[in-house]
């Protein structure tokens, strides 16, 4: 378990950089996590993705299918990768404060 500091906040993360305590997520934390993914600012489109992931995870306890993410946000897959270059699972989910998905990923 490691932690990193961004501005005034310190976040505990696992070895993959995902939040150790997803319940402590807030907008400021999202910005800090984004900085670890090479995303320096979060645009309106970034927030649309992040908020959708966050809501889905809060309701169902898992990350949504990539299909759902694209359908509900209206973004084609390419846009998701443009916004989060490391992809929906390792990039967008991390910024939204989800734990690392289990499985062959």
């Amino acid at each position: 378990m490691a932690s990193f500091t961004h501005g005034n906040i310190t976040i505990e993360v696992d070895e993959d950089g995902f939040m150790a305590q997803p319940e402590k997520w807030n907008n400021e934390v999202a910005l800090a996590l984004a900085s670890t993914e090479g995303v320096t600012a979060l645009s309106e489109d970034h927030w649309k993705l992040v908020n959708y992931l966050r809501d889905y995870y809060t309701k169902f306890g898992v990350a949504p299918m990539i299909r759902k993410l694209c359908k509900e946000t209206g973004f084609p897959l390419k846009t998701v990768y443009d916004l989060f270059p490391s992809g929906p699972a390792k990039g967008a989910c991390k910024v939204a404060g989800l734990p690392k998905p289990t499985g062959c990923v």
Binding site: E15, D16, M65, I66, R67, L77, T102, G103, C104
Partner: protein
């Protein structure tokens, strides 16, 4: 000495369960596996090994850990299964905690060591037997156990529901048709030449790989289908967690779906362990002579389509590429020459790794090691420095990885050792290179 930092790693799936075990339960489970499940095979291996240590130089963890003898395959077996055998199952919690760490996180069951063993002892089988014991005792890394639970409940490793699965396929059909008109994904087509099956992460995260396959199937005029219901996920993490009862169920469901659709053969996506589960470990556990229908790995299928001219190459990838040999389809199936045929057909500047083919080093992610999740990531990366050195020496920009575990594992290596490369599946290169019909 084994790395003290790694020995102190806390994993709920292991640590929380150990305290609940009684000495009687530990002994009875170990005796049951040693006497009833592994029997003669295990006995032969234990008695044949002359402790020569030739396996050590074959193992990426030993080489990457500065030749620390504790990381040689023989030492891993000695610290786990031999002691369990010698003490007749009378081992304690701290012993089991270390045994679980070794068996789940320091062996990818890649079987490179078996090739260098003068007797061909299947050392990976010995460490898998340790995992089996751990699974029956309920001490399995938490992240890995979650995938086994998902297999059990949802019939796939990522908790995907059937409607979501079908929705993902219909979406990818639309995407594929936008690239190549008529690139449909036929569901449940009885009697098709090919049933195509994938691992759940393709549907959940990397859906474009399914769309790519629809394009390739249309371009090569293949009569194919995908199943709409359980059995569509050909992956099997239970095989690696040691829960062989669930492993058997997963493999049976996959094959029953293929038989029900009366397809002539099953083609599977770019995954290594799924091939092993469907062709070897699954049928063996189920007491079958072999798979009921022929199973073809994607690499062999691409080879067939390219070498017979059903797919034609219109343009080649120009940037330098190298290639990872996935253990389960290279050491396990001998596909290295066909794989290189495909890569050379697609790429102008192919730089092979050294060593290569069946002698290539493991990605350190397979065998369920990457599935043990974030707690073990740094430990895994310390154990695979040799792969980083091997990759860097090629000076390639792209690493072709026809296996999901190799793909994610090498991505992690590239990030950790700052190699500045990226990984690709063959299917992603194929759709860029082939001649599209009508163009």
């Amino acid at each position: 000495m084994a790395d003290a930092v790694d020995m102190a790693i806390v994993d709920k799936g292991i640590d929380d369960s150990i305290g609940k075990l009684t000495p009687e339960r530990i002994e009875s489970v170990i005796r049951r596996v040693l006497d009833k499940e592994s029997g003669a095979r295990l006995q032969v291996y234990v008695e044949t090994c002359v402790r020569c240590g030739l396996c050590a130089e074959a193992c990426h963890t030993y080489l990457s850990r500065d030749k620390d003898p504790d990381y040689s395959p023989v030492a891993k077996v000695k610290a786990t299964l031999w002691e369990m055998t010698r003490r007749n199952g009378r081992v304690d919690g701290p012993f089991l905690r270390n045994a679980a760490r070794i068996a789940f996180t320091e062996c990818g069951t890649c079987r490179r060591c078996s090739m260098y063993c003068p007797f061909g002892i299947d050392i990976a089988y010995l460490l898998s037997t340790v995992r089996r014991i751990c699974a029956l005792l309920g001490i399995v890394p938490q992240y890995m156990q979650d995938t086994t639970n998902a297999h059990s409940v949802a019939s796939n490793q990522m908790w995907i529901q059937q409607d979501d699965w079908i929705d993902a396929l219909m979406w990818q059909e639309e995407e594929a048709c936008a690239e190549l008109p008529g690139a449909l994904i036929p569901l449940d087509k009885e009697g098709a030449d090919v049933m195509y099956s994938v691992i759940a992460p393709e549907a959940k995260i990397l859906a474009q790989l399914i769309g790519n396959m629809a394009i390739l199937m249309k371009a090569a005029k293949v009569d194919w289908t995908m199943p709409s219901a359980d059995g569509w996920d050909n992956s099997n993490m239970a095989m690696f967690s040691g829960d062989y009862e669930i492993m058997g169920r997963v493999e049976r469901a996959h094959w029953e779906r293929a038989v029900q659709l009366r397809v002539k053969r099953v083609v599977m996506g770019e995954c290594g362990h799924a091939f092993r589960g469907a062709v070897y470990d699954g049928p063996k556990w189920l007491g079958w002579r072999g798979p009921p229908i022929p199973m073809v790995h994607a690499v062999e299928f691409y080879y067939e389509l390219l070498s017979t001219g059903r797919l034609k190459i219109a343009r080649k990838i120009t940037e330098p590429v190298t290639l990872q040999d996935p253990c389960n389809i290279v050491r396990g199936r001998g596909l290295h020459d066909k794989l290189r045929y495909v890569v050379r057909a697609l790429c102008e500047d192919f730089r092979d790794m050294d060593p290569r083919d069946e002698h290539n080093f493991c990605c350190a992610a397979g065998g369920g090691v990457i599935n043990c999740g974030p707690p073990w990531k740094l430990s895994r990366l310390k154990s695979i420095r040799v792969k980083a050195e091997q990759l860097a020496a090629t000076k390639a920009h792209t690493v072709i990885t026809p296996c999901h575990n190799c793909h994610s594992g090498i991505e992690d290596i590239i990030g950790h050792y700052k190699l500045g490369m990226h990984t690709k599946f063959v299917n992603e290169l194929l759709v860029k290179c082939i001649e599209m019909p009508g163009s």
